[in-house]
Point group: C2
């Protein structure tokens, strides 16, 4: 792990985790990350897909996109992933909260030009969408890989922050006749919708 | 609306929207935002709850948190909200995508010290968790409001980006015997879990 100072969870330090299995599990469950970079002094936060492979988080995009341009220049980046797990309903407004698991990674991304690695990342992403699907679909050709810019961010300076459990009500509020607890949240997959070009005609 | 240059959606410009009803609907559906700021040259992206009230997005936090300190100093901020709506399964790996609705707001936040406004934001947040719940719970007292730092970011320089619909496969791939379409995603509320302090004993 890199410099610990920047990644130390300061607010609610008991929620901080620094071990890779914890960090990796969050990264592997989330599809979307929010990438932060500075463009001409202005912080910019862009949502994009992320895929972890071994010790890096991979981001891909069109070669001409601003995110790709800025990160390729070696500018510092911050990649944050958040899973919202529940609404925490306390007896007092002040203690309302949410359960979540998040990861923050600081670092500098590097461009990956290797077509095999680009293919590997598209492979992993496909399998995260639907396990086993890579075997069924058309794999990327040379031109498509050339148009895909791939960025790798090392998981060195990283931390996870996790809140679980019920509300932390004040002692004197516990007797109030108010329902308190958690409404768990889950990102659910609904019934697949085939496209208009005969997407349903097989498998 | 403020400076349009920074908020113009450049990649896939047909996905860009700049009208407030579209922007507000996304902000009002999302609970979590990702706040970007620059701390000593380093971009930082922090997930936190957001509540829109009229023409501002409100963020709250502990008075001592880094986010609150940096944003209170007048540093430029970027607040991004993303709703993930579906996995777009194309016939080719290259065209895999996701359906989403996102909003990016640039600007400078200001601290709000008015206890009534702080109370209003906690009220709105509570109602977003569970409509009608504000009437049931203990409202914040003076001390709690004093410990809550509130930041307001104007929705001036804002844009939405939306992808909907099925995959955009290449013409020559349409005949391939591959299922293609969308798996819709939805953040679902599961069965509420009462806390161990008798959260279930009423209402």
């Amino acid at each position: 792990m890199g410099d610990r100072e920047r990644t130390t969870v300061r607010r609610a330090p008991d929620r901080g985790h620094y071990d890779r299995p914890t960090i990796d599990a969050i990264l592997d469950e989330a599809l979307v990350c929010h990438v932060g970079f500075v463009d001409d002094g202005q912080p910019v936060v862009i949502p994009t897909l992320q895929v972890r492979v071994d010790d890096h988080v991979y981001l891909h995009g069109a070669t001409g996109s601003r995110m790709v341009k800025v990160l390729s220049s070696g500018a510092p980046a911050c990649v944050t992933v958040t899973l919202l797990d529940g609404l925490v309903l306390a007896r007092s407004a002040f203690h309302q909260s949410v359960n979540y698991r998040s990861v923050v990674i600081f670092g500098t991304a590097t461009r990956v030009e290797d077509p095999e690695m680009k293919c590997r990342v598209l492979h992993e992403l496909t399998e995260r969408f639907v396990p086993g699907r890579w075997a069924d679909i058309r794999h990327p050709n040379e031109g498509e890989l050339a148009r895909t810019a791939l960025l790798a961010l090392p998981i060195d300076e990283a931390s996870a922050k996790i809140r679980t459990g019920g509300p932390k009500d004040d002692e004197e509020d516990l007797g109030l006749p108010i329902w308190a607890g958690v409404i768990p949240l889950e990102l659910t997959r609904l019934e697949p919708v085939p496209d208009e070009n005969g997407g349903s005609h097989t498998s």
